[in-house]
Amino acid sequence: MNFLGFGQSAEIDIQLDGADTRKTAEIRTVDDRKDKLLLYYDGEGVSGKVNITLKKAGQKLEHQGIKVEFIGQIELFYDRGNHHEFVSLVKDLARPGDLTENTTFSFDFAQVEKPYESYTGNNVKLRYFVRVVISRRMSDIVREQDIIVHSLSTYPDVNNSIKMEVGIEDCLHIEFEYNKSKYHLKDTIVGKIYFLLVRIKIKHMELAIIKREMSGSTPSLFQDSETIAKFEIMDGAPVRGESIPIRLFLAGYDLTPTMKDINKKFSVRYFLNLVLVDEEERRYFKQQEIILWRKGEKLRKGQQAQMTNAMQQYTATSVVRVDPVDDVSDGEDS
């Protein structure tokens, strides 16, 4: 199978509608680079054109049918070849026959459900793409075009602060507090560490953001922990009664929203890890989960119309989403 669409006989090119006006987003690739792709939301239609160019002019292309698909799938790296499709739409473009000249087909998948956000991780990948297949007796010519999907949420109704007293009996007691338990991706973590009892010799204290990706199920359960950010919030030895402030800006880091049990295949969770290090390099730590969510951004006028249009069309269908798209009109000048 030739995935680049370069057969010996024909070349497939997929052009998505609105490529000049639609917003793009970046997603990490497998080799740690960044791919820039068009951004879609749940409920929006995916439409475009498929151009098929014949390599050898004058020679016709015999085929067993041409179809275009919209696929949303989860790929588990340890289980290659076994992809789990959770969205699969097909449209036939041409019945079996011959192509004698360069042809352009249009396609329109209206109101496509995109329940999960695109994600590229260390052991798992969730992607959405348009795939065109020219079926032939010997080998199909295939071309795929990826898109990025973001899931938006609104400000949570309940967002309590995290406040806890932890420590080692008679040696170290601290009270830590983070202003919220749910943060959006451009939020700021504001908090403090209050020392109630200090009987060990502390050298410094640091705060780290840890991403834990859990994929697969028994027997092959994969847990991958990655430290996204780490920085020192205190240098030196504190005494009882001291308060150390915390201010951590999330916008500077490559974060995704918290994903719980996506299609029962994987989860991505984030933790704040508070670490105190003493003079003998002993580490005392406390890990606390935080929920990250994606806030809808303020859109330009044209895009806002596009979004609200998509939402209106979508809510007309029977499926109800748990987290509605953020209402970006907040009373200020639009």
């Binding site: 040696c171 700021t188 005494v239």
Partner: protein, 163 residues
């Protein structure tokens, strides 16, 4: 929108630290020195011991100042007790130097000044690492090692109870 965002990023309320707490003596004072190596005895029946002097204000230690004499085998005993009873990864002792105890050596073997000094330094690092570990501070063997004049090898191993 701006008012709510400044509310969201305002510093949290902190209790003011009392001046007593700020300027009080630190509650984590623990100093242990391994000093004054003295070699006792003559010829084949010699041994070296060291003064283990501790000064602390940690409440877990009954005596705030103590000074005892300990030899290398006492340190080995302490290490074995902690390996067995406590959950910590016990640091290593300086070498046992069995080769230096073989007969027919040019120098004085384990009673050489340089060797004794190296061993003294290693023992000091060892005992400081252990005594500063919160999980080792609860062990009776450590307290007996640091503060009792003689080590009772027939003691009942256990943890110190908080008074």
């Amino acid at each position: 929108m701006t008012e709510s965002s400044s509310e969201a990023t305002k510093r949290l309320n902190v209790k003011r630290q009392t001046l007593d707490d700020a300027y009080a003596a630190p509650a984590n004072f623990l100093e242990i020195d391994v000093i004054n190596p003295i070699t006792h005895g003559v010829a084949k029946k010699r041994y070296t011991d060291y003064e283990v002097r501790m000064r602390t204000n940690l409440p877990v230690f009954k005596q705030k100042e103590s000074s005892v004499r300990r030899r290398y085998s006492d340190f080995e005993w302490l290490r074995n007790e902690l390996e067995r009873d406590s959950k910590i990864v016990v640091p290593n002792l300086p070498g046992k130097a069995l080769k230096k105890q073989m007969p027919f050596r040019q120098d004085d073997g384990i009673f050489e000044e340089e060797f004794v000094e190296d061993r003294r330094k290693g023992l000091e690092v060892f005992v400081n690492k252990i005594a500063g570990h919160p999980l080792a501070q609860n062990e009776k063997c450590l307290h007996m090692f640091l503060q009792d004049v003689t080590i009772d090898k027939n003691y009942v191993p256990g943890k110190i109870r908080n008074t």
